[in-house]
Symmetry: C2
Subunit: 365 residues, 2 copies
């Protein structure tokens, strides 16, 4: 039905009406006092959302841009970095690091399984000469619905002492507890079309004082993604380059909504949505792709038996019920489908998606 689509993909996620209407306001000049007021409010609320006193810088880019900036600003050519790879996004950060001439060592797990923190501990403990300069981890692996044990891996990084921890929090920020200051996370990247509940186009990077120390000697080439000018201008509530003013309007609104709901409530809601989804999928006798102990509160991947084509499930859900699910990426295409429950999603949405899924399965069998 026209204009009736319900997005249950891991981004873009549903956008509240208030944020949509804010997008339609006429842009103002980005060098104006009015815009600086928005910047000031938004920056304060971003720190609240990130549970940090660190800088949280705002880029015009996708989440990949945030992660690229998070990697290339704090390292030197040839630096040894560990990259956790258990899905499409972990692989991508290894590609970024390789593209810039870093010495990338991959610690992998099968897609659908979490990274093993012990493997990180072993490699980090063996590095007595402190040559490892960064550990890059995807918190919630969007491609598989796996939540990696960032807290434990980060503890090993902290024991190492030298390496920075660089985190892809694209689908975890605003969905699961990520206390940046309490854990001491150095660099955390995220994107607007996820837990932020607004359309794509903005990306965020939080940067710790330790990372800024490393910035001083970092030598990878960069200009648009050089975070120094972002930091300098952020202190004056402005930006180095023209920002997407209308997305800032929407961000202002959505952060206000998040603050009104409260972090604990947001996390509890996502946990509940995840549990409802997983329980229902189990009730339908469909296998879950990620194990319970490593399940992402943002997205649930379902791995139907071979007799059921995952793309067929998506197609019926889309055509008959106007619900958009995500498919599998790369080698998982046709093998899994993914139910997004991230951002502006309530219990009713899950109930509705599950009811539609049940009817779809009946049709397929």
């Amino acid at each position: 039905m026209d204009d009736k689509l319900m997005l249950m993909i891991p981004g873009p996620t549903p956008v509240p009406e208030k944020a949509l209407l804010a997008l339609a306001k006429h842009p103002i000049g980005h060098r104006s006092g009015d815009f600086s007021q928005i910047m000031a409010e938004v920056q304060e609320n971003l720190k609240w959302l990130h549970q940090t006193q660190n800088d949280v810088l705002i880029l015009t880019a996708s989440g990949t841009g945030a992660m690229e900036a998070g990697i290339i600003n704090f390292l030197k050519r040839g630096d040894r970095v560990l990259c956790g790879c258990n899905g499409k996004f972990g692989d991508r950060w290894a590609e970024v690091a390789t593209a810039y001439g870093l010495n990338v060592e991959i610690i992998s797990a099968e897609w659908g399984q979490p990274l093993d923190p012990e493997k990180f501990r072993e490699v980090l403990e063996a590095d007595t000469e402190k040559q490892i300069k960064a550990v890059i981890i995807t918190h919630s692996e969007t491609s598989t619905g796996v939540l990696n044990d960032l807290e434990t891996i980060n503890r090993h990084v902290k024991n190492h002492g030298e390496a920075l921890i660089i985190v892809d929090a694209v689908t975890s920020l605003g969905a699961v507890n990520l206390p940046i200051d309490e854990w001491g996370l150095d660099v955390v990247g995220s994107g607007s079309q996820k837990g932020y509940m607004i359309p794509p186009g903005l990306a965020f990077v939080s940067v710790s004082p330790k990372a800024w120390e490393a910035y001083k000697t970092a030598d990878l080439p960069r200009y648009y993604f050089d975070l120094g000018p972002y930091r300098k201008t952020a202190a004056k509530n402005t930006n180095p380059f023209t920002p997407p003013v209308n997305l800032f309007y929407a961000l202002q609104v959505s952060l206000q909504m998040m603050k009104a709901e409260g972090l604990e409530n947001i996390f509890a809601r996502h946990h509940r949505l995840m549990t409802m989804t997983r329980d229902a999928v189990k009730g339908l006798n469909l296998p879950l792709f990620a194990p319970d102990h490593a399940a992402s509160p943002a997205i649930t991947a379902v791995c139907p038996p071979e007799s059921i084509d995952a793309e067929k499930v998506r197609s019926i859900m889309r055509k008959q019920f106007d619900i958009v699910l995500a498919g599998g990426q790369d080698h998982l295409k046709g093998k899994i489908f993914r139910i997004g429950h991230l951002g502006f999603v309530c219990d009713r949405d899950i109930l509705c998606a599950i009811a539609a899924l049940e009817t779809t399965l009946q049709q397929l069998n």
Copy 2:
């Protein structure tokens, strides 16, 4: 007056209501057939606007991102490049090129004056060993209101034969004739908040077959701005990274409007707006910053006598008439003000701005 601002800055430019309302539509999935349809239409219309059969790639970034991508995808570390500098943006592209380790030779002119094509001819003709790999030119220098003689400079580049021509068309595209295929322009960068008549957040790069040849051996590090994947996915009407879906809605609408107006009418309108503005400023006995023969159809910089503080003019225009003018950048702050007449601007807007300017000047003297 609240919500009554009239933007006469060189970006963001005024946005038509139709495009604003398109922004407020709920995002759809960017991997959907519906989004690919938008991509297909938008890509075709971008080629029309660029007067080219070259790829016109779409990035989530500001215009600076487009120019960085346009520089770093086609060159090798240490390559000799000529950069035309006669304003803030020319200077910026020299900074980008330097940041990536290119061997940058600057050909400059005073801010407010156009680049001298003869200087380019001399240096290019002297380069018999064809070591110059690119010439980077800002077409309309937003900081000064100068339109550089791209056509002549490009002719010298073509006679050189080896060098690519890389053009910042951020405030010229959609304002003045820029026949990419006819002139053989290799790389042309632009941004959505200018002639495109939509808010900031999208950037565009057109790439010639010759530039793609250079891409094969280019070795500057890049990932988010690597144009190869943009080209590959554009052929399938999709994107390598999550695009700002809502800005695409607006772009779709604004390109339809531009097509309906027609390129010749758009250029004629901008020429008329420029002439009206310059004639009126002369009538008010205020000196123009750029000479008539090198005046940008996008923006007019006015250089009032020392007795009149340019910032004071802007302040009264803003407070009393709700008209936003741009100030001078860098060393020109307080010395010039700039009247934007780019994009969704009609004769009435100029009439109105000039009447307000006249009243403002009376107040100041």
